[in-house]
Symmetry: C2
Subunit: 347 residues, 2 copies
């Protein structure tokens, strides 16, 4: 009962959620976007033999079974997950990478165990400063490089979930069964699927996926000089009507979402005249930390014609979504206000 995803690449699988499926607070599992560097384990992982190893700068390295994790204190968190490169194709100057429109994002309710509980069990050495995650996907492409990412220890202790459940079901194979990490409010690159090894480190992990990509940098800079992509940027999207829609004159229900990762959204403004004037919108649906807010606006155009619709979010700390995002070589974090064209005709 869900519209088909737009598949961008097959091996590895990269597919985005259609805008029609972003109109709900909850994104169903089978509609949720997929972003992979490697190939999904095939056949699916057997939880009887699977384990999670934690080692490195810890007092007592330990191997946890699936049953061990299910027996630890459960947490449940609604979390909006977005691909670092989402909306890349909407940048005014092209950037390299998968041509995401707005559908590299979704919101789910995740169940699992806080990484903090596991780190407390193994004990941290004073040298522990970063935490690296490694999955069981198969490296692909000529380089055959393993997708490994690390996050700072503070994030790992404060707000990182090891999720075994997605929207009330066991984590589906496409989303990392049996276990994925979720650095809450951070982009998908920081959230490793098919997780089987965690290494606590004294320094950030070094490797292709830490140093060469998932960094914001400009032309002429080395990638290593750029900033590592972490939290979601402050952003709003319009999910209804669709860009290019033709609509009969009358009351038009405009729907959208706004999110800012770790930060709460304060409000979303709507413009039907390409930013000359702005109207407030109304929030609808659940209000949960790390989750997007869905919003609505009843738009009443008074004459037929071509209209450019905009939405612009503000966060509780006073920040506003930029009209244009800062460009970067790999096109990460595009949170510019997107021009959304529709035609209104006499019904």
């Amino acid at each position: 009962m869900t519209d088909a995803k737009r598949v961008m690449t097959v091996k590895p699988r990269n597919a985005e959620t259609p805008a029609t499926q972003l109109r709900s607070w909850l994104t169903p599992n089978d509609a949720f976007f997929e972003r992979n560097q490697g190939l999904q384990p095939d056949p699916p992982i057997d939880v009887e033999t699977w384990s999670l190893r934690i080692e490195g700068e810890v007092v007592t390295p330990h191997t946890f079974s699936y049953a061990d994790l299910l027996g630890m204190p459960k947490d449940t968190v609604a979390n909006t997950l977005e691909c670092s490169g989402n909306s890349r194709s909407l940048l005014k100057s092209k950037a390299a990478g998968n041509p995401w429109t707005i559908g590299g994002v979704g919101n789910a309710v995740w169940g699992g165990v806080a990484l903090r509980h596991l780190l407390e069990r193994v004990g941290l050495k004073a040298s522990a400063k970063h935490v690296a995650f490694e999955g069981l996907d198969t490296p692909t492409g000529k380089a055959q490089i393993k997708f490994i990412r690390s996050i700072p220890l503070a994030k790992a202790l404060d707000a990182t979930l090891l999720a075994y459940e997605m929207n009330g079901e066991p984590l589906p194979p496409a989303h990392g069964f049996p276990l994925r990490s979720l650095a809450l409010g951070w982009t998908g690159a920081n959230c490793v699927k098919w997780l089987h090894r965690i290494r606590v480190l004294a320094h950030p992990h070094e490797g292709f996926f830490m140093d060469k990509v998932y960094r914001v940098f400009q032309k002429g800079m080395a990638p290593e000089e750029g900033t590592v992509v972490t939290g979601l940027t402050l952003k709003s999207i319009i999910t209804q009507p669709l860009d290019g829609d033709q609509l009969p004159l009358g009351e038009i229900l405009v729907l959208g979402a706004a999110y800012a990762g770790e930060l709460e959204i304060a409000d979303v403004a709507f413009s039907s005249d390409n930013g000359r004037s702005w109207q407030p919108t109304e929030f609808i649906g659940p209000r949960e930390p790390f989750s997007w807010r869905q919003w609505r606006h009843i738009w009443r155009p008074t004459a037929p014609g071509d209209y450019t619709l905009l939405a612009r979010a503000s966060a509780v700390d006073g920040r506003r979504q930029p009209m244009d995002a800062d460009w970067n070589v790999l096109g990460y974090g595009n949170n510019g206000v997107h021009e959304h064209g529709v035609r209104v005709h006499i019904g």
Copy 2:
């Protein structure tokens, strides 16, 4: 990926959610309990020809199309839905009806339009006091009586959603496609599926499903003298471990849910000694009006043996869940504290 429902009757279909599927804040659509008086429309309703008629004590009766509803202001609400007779089979004295254990309940995120918007559009006469809902299910059984229920106008205006979406998907056929009413925080009997007609009335609807059932009454009373079932009662359930489980001695993760319909839960106490002593539990997961709270407790039994586990909820108004529910002829609203037996053995 969900455990099978326990089917109690096939025509009409009545099936409860297994306890294993009640451990999540969100109940997946295919795991959500089903309670029917009539037979589900077959083939599924065609939204091109379906309509919703609103008539009765209104200024301008009107027929709404599916597209009309999708164009009206959308609302999204997390709402726990429970069958009026849930937990009937756990009553200490038997009562007539489907033998629900704890699985006649579930929590979903529903999208739709507030009934208020439609009532404002048709306009209410001063005589309007109640609102009756009629679906397109086929009456079954000897009596061939149509399932029609009414709710007071105040509830219809304040907190009643006409839902076309369930957990981010179009409302599934089994749950009332294309539209069901949800009197938020009230039992399933007040939430009509396959909705196609709403009548605004000067008095409550009169009929079998208003007068003879879904009323709390004692032996020797006429059903009509009883109280109509409306809001969920204050209640907690233990969803892990299961009643009868055998567990190795050690740390045991206890999970459960607590809910009270329109009222917010304040806390849930846990006992492992049949109520002689009580420990606090921790809430986990989203906190939304009309939705249950999931809770957890790490239980550390110090010796093997047989234990009787209890959970008891309190609401923000100071009310406490009763140890034993008041019995009634049809076994509605059983919110007594359930004795949950487990055996702990040396691992």
